[in-house]
């Protein structure tokens, strides 16, 4: 019967999972509700780290030790597989963060703001002065390049 187990024991046994879910949901909340893009990225990394904690908690064996072979046949080891998966995930997480930060830098360069609502308002306006100017310049440059190719082609003749 479920009722015979004291609540404190149930909580202690599942404490890791409960905290992981709380952290995950807090990260999700930051990503959804904050407008600042850097803060969104911090929320995303909190979300990621909570998943790491979940995997490592699943791999824990009570009374076990780190999975490094000691030679003693009685030693109990924790599960090495989640450790390997999370090692990969940590590195990929940093790659995601770096890419996100590069995007935020470009957004800041184009709009002069890293607040989502301000950027969206600027996009909604027809003006978009800075972005339009940059795009026009890129069009220019393409024109230049074609022009240069034509000049080079004539020189070869």
């Amino acid at each position: 019967m479920m009722n015979e187990v004291p609540l404190a024991v149930i909580l202690a046994e599942n404490w890791n999972y409960l905290v992981v879910i709380t952290l995950m949901m807090s990260g999700l909340f930051i990503v959804i509700s904050r407008f600042n893009l850097v803060k969104k990225l911090v929320g995303l990394s909190i979300f990621q780290t909570s998943v790491f904690l979940f995997y490592i908690s699943v791999g824990k064996v009570a009374g076990g030790t780190a999975p490094i072979i000691t030679g003693d046949p009685d030693t109990l080891y924790s599960n090495p597989l989640p450790h390997v998966l999370i090692l990969t995930a940590i590195v990929v997480g940093v790659a995601t963060t770096a890419l996100g930060l590069a995007l935020v830098l470009r957004i800041h360069a184009a709009f002069g703001s890293i607040e989502e609502d301000e950027v969206l308002a600027m996009k909604a306006e027809d003006g978009l002065p800075r972005v339009r100017r940059i795009l026009e310049q890129q069009g220019d440059r393409l024109g230049d390049r074609q022009g240069q190719a034509v000049v080079e082609g004539e020189a070869e003749k």
Binding site: L18, P80, A98
Partner: protein, 200 residues
């Protein structure tokens, strides 16, 4: 028992840090708090026997991530702007509804999981015993995490390298667009006044 108590306290500390991240508007403080969050995670990993993961989390999660954030902060504004009241209200409400529903469902599901540390949980009896028994005899490396990472699951690690390479390429392309415009501006300074991405 001590391990369990340490675990409970450190996990509670993580929740406190996340609440502080939510409430702080100075972004430098937020970035440093997220570094502290990663370090405490590393301590928890040691406590849960994942020494290799703790090592990586401390070096990569707390180290490189924080450095990347701080480097970006050198260009970006240092404080979070307070958006208009109506905006915060709707976004907070939307976030709260989603988070409460998803979190509630996950919590319900969490009580059906095997207890933390259960040696007979399905995750513990599937393929892990084979790695533990075999890897020292076959590959002669005592650290099982190393053998699984480099040998049994070497293709995973290859895939990881490809992902990191792609991300590095993406960062390079995104940031080099700026240098290209800058170079162009240098070539024709009179036409491109004030158009560089990194100008004020």
């Amino acid at each position: 028992m001590t391990g369990l108590m340490v675990n409970i306290c450190l996990l509670a500390l993580l929740v406190v840090i996340v609440v502080m991240v939510m409430r702080t508007h100075r972004l430098f403080a937020v970035v440093v708090l997220s570094g502290a969050y990663s370090l405490i995670c590393a301590v928890i990993f040691v406590n849960l026997d994942a020494v290799d993961v703790a090592f990586t989390e401390a070096a990569v999660g707390a180290g490189i991530s924080t450095v990347l954030f701080l480097a970006a902060m050198a260009v970006l504004p240092g404080t979070e702007k307070q958006p208009p009241r109506a905006h915060t209200l709707t976004s907070n409400l939307a976030g709260l509804v989603i988070v409460v529903i998803v979190g509630g469902v996950l919590m319900l599901a969490a009580f059906d999981l095997p207890a933390v540390g259960d040696p007979n949980a399905p995750a513990q009896v599937h393929v892990a015993p084979r790695y533990l028994v075999e890897s020292d005899e076959v590959l002669h490396i005592p650290n099982v995490v190393t053998t699984v990472l480099a040998s049994y699951r070497g293709f995973d690690t290859l895939g990881e390298t490809i992902v990191v390479f792609t991300a590095g390429l993406g960062v390079f392309l995104l940031l080099c667009g700026a240098t290209r415009t800058a170079r162009r501006r240098m070539a024709r300074p009179e036409q491109d006044q004030g158009s560089g991405p990194y100008e004020g």
